[in-house]
C-alpha cells in the first residue's frame, strides 16, 4: 500500500525544475503510452505511470525505476498529448533528477562526449574514410584539440560535471 499522505508533494517541482508548469495538467488519458514504441517492452516504459509517480510524489519508487531510460526519443507523446504535458520532456527531467540523486544513473556516454566531443570515435576510422575519398578526420571538434579544451572548460562549469568531476576525464 502506498501512503499518499506521506509522499513528497513537491517532487514535481524538484524534477521539472523551471519547466514545472504543464505536467500537472495530465488527466491520465494514456495518449502518451498509446503511441510509444518502448511501451511494448517486457518491462514497458509507461510514461503516464511515471508522470503519475512524479505528481503523487512517489520519490523512492521513481528513483528505482529504470524505464525512463527506455525512451526512443521519437517525441510522439509530446505531439499527441492533449494537455500539452510534454511527456518526453518529463522523461528527460526524470532521468536528470535520477542522475542528481544517484550518480550511477549518469550515462557513460556523457563522459565520452566530455572527453572526445562525440559519442562515436570519429577520429579512429581514418582508413575507412580515406578509402571513400574523405579526409581521415572529419572537421569536428576531434580535429581541433584547442577547441576541445575550451569545450571541456565550458562543461567544467556545469552542475553535472562539477558535482561528479571524478567521472569526467579529459
Amino acid at each position: 500500500m502506498i501512503d499518499l499522505t506521506k509522499a513528497n508533494h513537491h517532487l514535481w517541482k524538484e524534477i521539472m525544475e523551471e519547466d514545472a508548469g504543464d505536467i500537472r495538467r495530465c488527466f491520465n488519458c494514456g495518449t502518451c503510452v498509446s503511441g510509444c514504441p518502448a511501451a511494448e517492452a517486457e518491462t514497458p516504459l509507461m510514461i503516464r505511470r511515471l508522470v503519475r509517480m512524479v505528481l503523487l510524489g512517489l520519490e523512492e519508487k521513481l528513483l528505482e525505476d529504470g524505464t525512463p531510460w527506455m525512451c526512443v526519443t521519437c517525441t510522439a507523446c509530446e505531439e499527441m498529448c492533449p494537455m500539452g504535458v510534454k511527456p518526453f520532456e518529463v522523461g528527460l527531467a526524470i532521468r536528470r533528477w535520477q542522475t542528481r540523486k544517484d550518480e550511477t544513473y549518469i550515462p557513460l556516454s556523457t563522459t565520452e562526449v566530455f572527453q572526445t566531443g562525440h559519442t562515436q570515435p570519429v577520429e579512429k576510422v581514418g582508413e575507412l574514410r580515406r578509402s571513400l575519398g574523405l579526409p581521415e578526420i572529419p572537421p569536428t571538434i576531434a580535429k581541433f584539440t584547442e577547441l576541445l579544451k575550451k569545450f571541456q572548460a565550458m562543461l567544467r562549469e556545469t552542475e553535472i560535471v562539477k558535482n561528479n568531476d571524478y567521472m569526467f576525464k579529459e
Binding site: 500500500m1 502506498i2 501512503d3 499518499l4 499522505t5 508533494h9 500537472r24 495538467r25 495530465c26 488527466f27 491520465n28 488519458c29 494514456g30 495518449t31 503510452v33 498509446s34 503511441g35 510509444c36 511501451a39 511494448e40 514497458p44 509507461m46 503516464r48 505511470r49 503519475r52 509517480m53 505528481l55 503523487l56 512517489l58 510522439a76 505531439e79 499527441m80 498529448c81 492533449p82 494537455m83 500539452g84
Partner: protein, 1023 residues
C-alpha cells in the same frame, strides 16, 4: 388585445435549426410576428441530418418534421431563407435589422417542387447535407423534407453563371419558376427583439492528421456516420463501409476529437454531446446491420450526464454489448483490405486491434462566419469563440434586446437547445409584451364542408417514410391494395407524407376527388395526427374525419426482418383503418375561456424565475412555497463553479419577486387538492401556519418543486463528524470552520448515491461542485492536499477548464470503479486520529491510501418529497427515479401529456442554477402560449353519455383518472333517473369509462363501439 405601445411586436430569429424553429413557434403562438432568417435554402439545421436521437432513439427527422411544417405554414412566421443578417440598428424594442437575401433564382410561389430541374441540371458538387457522401446539383433542394421545398440555384457552380449559357432548368420548368433575373435583396426588418440561433459546426479534422480522415476511406466523422445510418442518407440506412461497400463487422469510435485538447486542437472545453451520441450510434449501427456488429467506444471520461443518459449507457453495455475502453487512440494503421488497426494502451499494456471502420466523435465549435456575425453586431464572445451570455441568464447576449439559444452560446444537446429556445422566446417577448398581438394575424380557415350523410369517399396515402417503411414493406402493392378496398376513391404512395409539399398535395387531392375521409398509412398519430388534421382544416373539412394506420411502429420497424409477412400485416392494418374510416364522423370541439393567472409550485430559483418571467409578460402569478422562506436549495450555495455569487443573485431575485405586484407569494403553503384542467384549474391551498385553506383559480401550473440531497449511508457519513456531504462542506468553509479549512489532507468522493443500481442516473452537478469546492479550499489554503475520487469526471461544456484549473493547482484526481469503491475507516495513525481512505490507483495499478482529516461526499441530488401527491393532483407522470417525466424528452422538455402543466428545475432532473433558470423561462414561455389566449379549443375525442343506455350504476366514476365523470339524478317522466355526466373540459378521452361500462352507456367520440367493432371485423376478415 391589440396594443398601441411603441415597441415593435415582432421578433427576428436568426438560424432555422431546432432552436430557431422552436423559438419562432413559441413566439408566434404567444402573439408575436416572427421573421426567421436562415442562411441556407431551407430551415431544419442539424436535426434532419441525424439518424436517431438519444436517449429514446426517436427518428430525428420524424420528430422534427411536424415542427418544420408548422413553422413553414404558420401565418405569423415569415421564413426568409438564403439570407444573412448584416447589421442591427436601433434600440431594444425597436430594432431595424438589415438582412441580405441572396437570390434563389427560383420563384417560390410558382415552383411545384416537381424536381425536373434537379434531375436535368448538368453541374454537380458534393452535397453539404450528406457531408460529401453524395452529390447534389447546382439547382437543388438540400434534403427531401426541406421547408420550403423549393430548389435554389448555387451560383458558384451553376454553368450559366460560369459560362453564360445552359439554362436547362429554365427550359424544362413547366411552371416557369426559374428566374435568372432575380437579384440579391437588402431587406430592412423592424423587430422588437432578436434571437440568435446560428448553431455550430463540427471540428475540422484536418488538424488531426494522424487520424487519416479523408485519407483512409473507412475513417469517418460522427456526422458523416449519421448520414450513413440515416434512412434518407446516401446509403438509405444500409450500413456499408466506404472503401469496398462491405458490411462492417467491427466499428470503433474515438472520443474527444477536438474536444478537451488544448494542444493540437486548442480547445479547453468539452463538447458535451459526443459521449451520448457515440453510444447512440453504436447501438443504432447494430440495428442497421443484419450481420453481427461489434462496437467499441474509446474514451477518456464517459459523460452521460443528461436525463436518461446513464440508463442508456448501461443498456448499451448490458443489452447491446457495446464495449467501452478507457483509452485515447492516436495511432491508426490502414491495412491493405481497408481495415484499420488501432494501437492503444489498455490500463497496463499496449494492444492492437483491427476494426472495419473508425468513427471520429468530433466536437462542436463556432465557425468563423458566426464569429464574424457576432463581430458585426458587437456581441462579445467568450474565450472559446462562443457567444458570451449574462451571469445567470444564459440566453441574454451581451447587448440588451439580443438573445441567444442553442449551441451559439456553448455545446449542448437538443433538449437543452429547445429549452433555451423557449427561454429566449420568453425573454424576447417580455421586452415587447405590451405590443403582443399588434402585428399578428389570425389564421382564417375555409368554411367547413358538411359531409354527414354523404357516401364515404376515402382517400389513402401510403407513406414510404424514406426507407423506414418503404425499405421493408412493399408500398406500391399496399397502395394498389388500398385502392381495391370499398369506398376508397383515391390511393397513392408518397416518400414523406408529412413533408410540407405533400400537405399541399393532400389538399389538392381532397378537392379534386371530393374526399370526405382521409386515411394516412404511415407512422404514429402521437406525433403526426395534429399535422394532418390541420391540413384537413385548411382543405375545408372537419379535422376529425381522419384516420391513421400505423404501418411503421406497429409494422415495418418491428418486423424488419420479415418483409413479406410485414406487408401482409400492413394490408390488414390498412383494411382495418378503412373499415373505421367509413364510420368516422365530424366532431365538434368545445371552446373554453382561459383564466390568465398562473400557479407556480415551489419558491426556489426555478419557481421564482418562472413566476417573474410570467409577471413581466403581464400575467398574474400565485407562487407557493411550503417552507417559510423563498430560495430553496440555492440558499445553501455560495458561489457557482464560475465564481458567480449565488446569494447576491438569490437576494435580488427574492426582492424582485416580492416587489412584483402581479406575484402573490404564499409561504408555508401546500397544495391540498386540484380540480379542473388547462385554462381553468382550481387549486386548494393550505396555509400551514394559519391552518387556513383557500382556493385559487388559474389557467396553468408550473411545477418547480426542486430537489434534495441524498443522505448517504456509506463512507461513515452520520457516524463520524469528519465526514460531510460536499454541500455541508461548503457551509463549513463559508463559516471558516478551522478543522475544515485548516485540514492537511482532504478527500472528496464522487457519485455517492448516484450512478448506482437503485439510482441509475448522474447527478450532473457534483463533479463541477466538488471541483468548485476544491478550488475554493486551494484559494484559502494552497498547501492543503486535496484528493477527488471519481468514476468519470463530468465537467461538460465550459466546466472542463475548471477541471484543468484544479489539476493545475495540484488537486489530485484518482479514478475508481463501482466494483471496487474506496474504503473509509477511522483509525489511529501514531497519535493522530485519521480517516484512512484506501483504493486502487488505476494509473499505478497499485493500492494507495490517504490519511484524511476531512471527507466530503458528493451526494446525489434526489427529487424533493411530496412529488407523488403533486403528480396525482396534476395527473402528471414521474419517472423511475421520482423526477417528473416530461411529454417528450427531446422536443417537449418542459411540458406534460396533461396540457397546461409544466415542469422546470430540479423537479425535472439535477441541473445547475443557470440551467434551472433557462428551464423556468422555457416553462413560462410555454405557459404564455396558453395564458395569452382568450380561449382554447378542447379535443373532440372525448366521452359522451348515452342517457338511454346509462342506468347510473356509476361503474365508470371511479376509474376515471381525471375525475371528469359525476353521477346525477334527475326527474324523467315522473321518475328519478340516475345517469352520469361528463365534464368535457376535464375529459381526456382515455376511454376507461367506455371500457368499464356494461350498458353501452358511455363512449369516446371517434372510438365508438361500432367503429372499433368494424376494425376488429376487418382484422378477422368478417364481413
Amino acid at each position: 388585445m391589440k396594443s398601441t405601445s411603441n415597441e415593435t411586436g415582432s421578433v427576428l430569429v436568426v438560424g432555422g435549426g431546432i432552436a430557431g424553429i422552436q423559438a419562432s413557434l413559441d413566439l408566434a403562438e404567444s402573439g408575436y410576428k416572427v421573421y426567421l432568417v436562415e442562411k441556407s435554402p431551407a430551415i431544419g439545421g442539424t436535426m434532419p441530418q441525424l439518424d436517431k436521437t438519444f436517449p429514446t432513439n426517436d427518428c430525428s427527422m420524424c420528430i422534427l418534421s411536424p415542427k418544420l411544417v408548422e413553422c413553414g405554414r404558420h401565418l405569423n412566421i415569415e421564413v426568409i431563407t438564403n439570407a444573412e443578417v448584416l447589421d442591427i440598428k436601433g434600440q431594444p424594442g425597436n430594432f431595424v435589422v438589415s438582412v441580405k437575401k441572396r437570390a434563389r433564382y427560383v420563384d417560390e410561389t410558382l415552383c411545384t417542387g416537381c424536381g425536373i430541374c434537379q434531375e436535368k441540371c448538368p453541374s454537380k458538387t458534393g452535397s453539404e447535407f450528406n457531408r460529401g457522401l453524395s452529390q447534389r446539383k447546382a439547382i437543388y433542394i438540400p434534403y427531401a423534407q426541406a421547408v420550403p421545398n423549393v430548389p435554389a440555384i448555387d451560383r458558384e457552380i451553376c454553368i450559366y453563371f460560369e459560362k453564360g449559357k445552359c439554362r436547362v432548368c429554365e427550359k424544362l420548368c413547366e411552371s416557369k419558376a426559374i428566374d435568372f433575373t432575380q437579384t440579391d435583396q437588402l431587406l430592412e426588418i423592424e423587430a422588437g427583439s432578436v434571437i440568435l440561433c446560428p448553431g455550430f459546426q463540427e471540428f475540422d479534422t484536418s488538424i488531426f492528421t494522424h487520424y487519416g480522415h479523408r485519407v483512409f476511406p473507412n475513417v469517418v466523422t460522427s456526422i458523416e456516420f449519421e448520414r450513413m445510418l440515416s434512412p434518407s442518407g446516401p446509403l438509405q440506412g444500409h450500413l456499408i463501409r466506404p472503401s469496398d461497400q462491405k458490411v462492417p463487422e467491427r466499428i470503433a469510435w474515438i472520443q474527444c476529437v477536438g474536444s478537451r485538447d488544448i494542444h493540437l486542437a486548442k480547445n479547453a472545453y468539452c463538447s458535451s454531446v459526443c459521449c451520448t451520441y457515440a453510444i447512440k450510434e453504436a447501438v443504432v449501427a447494430k440495428e442497421h446491420c443484419l450481420t453481427p456488429l461489434e462496437t467499441t467506444i474509446f474514451l477518456i471520461d464517459l459523460r452521460t450526464f443528461g436525463k436518461g443518459f446513464e440508463r442508456y449507457y448501461e443498456r448499451a453495455k448490458k443489452d447491446h454489448g457495446v464495449r467501452f475502453v478507457r483509452a485515447r487512440v492516436t495511432t491508426l494503421y490502414q491495412e491493405s483490405d481497408g481495415d484499420l488497426t488501432l494501437r492503444y494502451f489498455d490500463e497496463d499494456r499496449i494492444k492492437e486491434e483491427r476494426f472495419s471502420m473508425v468513427v471520429l466523435s468530433v466536437g462542436l465549435r463556432q465557425p468563423e462566419e458566426t464569429k464574424a456575425l457576432a463581430g458585426r453586431l458587437g456581441l462579445k464572445l467568450n474565450d472559446y469563440g462562443f457567444c458570451e451570455t449574462g451571469d445567470f441568464s444564459t440566453v441574454a447576449a451581451s447587448k440588451p434586446g439580443i438573445f441567444t439559444a442553442g449551441a451559439f452560446s456553448g455545446p449542448k444537446d437538443i433538449p437543452e437547445t429547445v429549452m433555451e429556445a423557449s427561454a429566449a422566446a420568453s425573454e424576447a417577448s417580455s421586452l415587447i409584451s405590451a405590443s403582443r398581438h399588434s402585428l399578428t394575424t389570425e389564421k382564417q380557415y375555409p368554411p367547413e364542408r358538411e359531409v354527414t350523410g354523404e357516401q364515404p369517399r376515402i382517400g389513402v396515402f401510403v407513406c414510404h417514410c424514406g426507407i423506414n417503411i418503404g425499405g421493408v414493406l412493399n408500398v406500391p402493392s399496399l397502395k394498389e391494395y388500398a385502392r381495391s378496398l370499398p369506398d376508397v376513391v383515391f390511393a397513392d404512395e408518397t416518400l414523406f407524407a408529412c413533408s410540407q409539399d405533400n400537405q399541399q398535395r393532400i389538399k389538392e387531392v381532397i378537392r379534386e376527388h371530393r374526399l370526405n375521409r382521409l386515411l394516412v398509412a404511415a407512422c404514429t398519430p402521437r406525433t403526426h395526427e395534429p399535422l394532418f388534421r390541420e391540413t384537413l382544416r385548411e382543405a375545408g373539412l372537419n379535422r376529425y374525419i381522419f384516420e391513421m394506420a400505423n404501418i411503421r411502429e406497429h409494422c415495418s420497424w418491428v418486423h424488419m426482418n420479415e418483409p413479406e409477412k410485414a406487408t401482409e400485416k400492413a394490408r390488414d392494418l390498412i383494411r382495418m383503418a378503412v373499415a373505421k374510416a367509413m364510420l368516422i364522423e365530424p366532431l365538434s370541439q368545445m371552446s373554453l375561456e382561459v383564466n390568465h393567472t398562473a400557479l407556480v409550485v415551489g419558491g426556489g430559483i426555478s419557481g421564482m424565475a418562472g413566476a417573474l418571467q410570467l409577471a413581466k409578460q403581464g400575467f398574474e402569478v400565485h407562487l407557493i412555497e411550503r417552507t417559510s422562506e423563498l430560495g430553496g436549495i440555492a440558499r445553501r450555495h455560495h458561489h457557482t463553479l464560475e465564481g458567480k455569487d449565488v446569494q447576491a443573485y438569490l437576494n435580488k431575485l427574492i426582492a424582485e419577486v416580492s416587489r412584483e405586484p402581479l406575484i402573490h407569494i404564499h409561504r408555508e403553503t401546500e397544495i391540498q387538492g386540484v380540480s379542473g384542467h388547462i385554462g381553468n384549474f382550481k387549486t386548494a391551498l393550505r396555509d400551514q401556519s394559519k391552518g387556513e385553506v383557500k382556493e385559487i383559480e388559474h389557467g396553468i401550473t408550473i411545477l418547480a418543486t426542486g430537489g434534495d440531497v441524498y443522505k448517504p449511508n456509506e463512507y461513515l457519513y452520520g457516524e463520524d463528524p469528519r465526514v460531510f456531504t460536499v454541500l455541508d462542506l461548503n457551509d463549513e468553509i463559508a463559516k471558516g470552520n478551522p478543522s475544515v479549512v485548516g485540514s492537511k489532507n482532504l478527500v472528496m468522493i464522487q457519485c455517492v448515491g448516484s450512478r448506482e443500481p437503485e439510482r441509475l442516473y448522474c447527478s450532473r452537478v457534483c463533479c463541477g461542485g466538488s471541483i468548485k469546492t476544491a478550488l475554493k479550499l486551494k484559494e484559502i489554503n494552497p498547501e492543503m492536499n486535496i484528493y477527488i475520487l471519481y468514476r468519470d469526471i463530468r465537467t461538460y461544456g465550459f466546466k472542463e477548464p475548471y477541471y484543468q484549473e484544479a489539476r493545475d493547482k495540484g488537486v489530485t484526481f484518482i479514478r475508481y470503479d463501482i466494483e471496487d469503491k474506496p474504503f473509509v475507516e477511522a483509525v489511529k495513525e501514531g497519535d493522530k486520529d485519521v480517516l484512512k481512505v484506501s483504493l486502487k490507483d488505476p494509473i499505478l495499478g497499485e493500492p494507495v491510501f490517504i490519511d484524511a482529516d476531512i471527507i466530503g461526499l458528493a451526494a446525489a441530488i434526489v427529487p424533493a418529497s411530496g412529488r407523488d401527491s403533486l403528480a396525482q393532483f396534476f395527473k402528471v407522470p414521474l419517472n423511475e427515479d421520482g423526477f417528473f417525466l416530461e411529454a417528450h424528452i427531446k422536443l417537449r422538455p418542459v411540458e406534460f401529456p396533461t396540457e397546461g402543466v409544466f415542469v422546470c428545475g430540479l423537479a425535472h432532473y439535477p441541473k445547475t442554477i443557470e440551467e434551472s433558470i433557462v428551464q423556468a423561462q422555457a416553462a413560462s414561455a410555454k405557459a404564455a402560449t396558453i395564458l395569452s389566449r382568450e380561449s382554447i379549443e378542447l379535443e373532440g375525442n372525448i366521452s359522451q353519455v348515452v342517457d338511454e343506455n346509462c342506468d347510473g350504476c356509476a361503474y365508470c366514476v371511479d376509474p376515471c383518472p381525471y375525475k371528469a365523470i359525476i353521477l346525477l339524478e334527475y326527474m324523467r317522466e315522473g321518475a328519478v333517473k340516475k345517469t352520469v355526466e361528463v365534464n368535457e373540459a376535464a375529459c381526456k378521452g382515455c376511454g376507461c369509462c367506455q371500457a368499464t361500462c356494461p350498458k353501452k352507456g358511455i363512449f369516446v367520440r371517434g372510438f365508438k363501439l361500432e367503429q372499433i367493432g368494424a376494425q376488429v371485423d376487418a382484422a378477422l376478415g368478417v364481413t
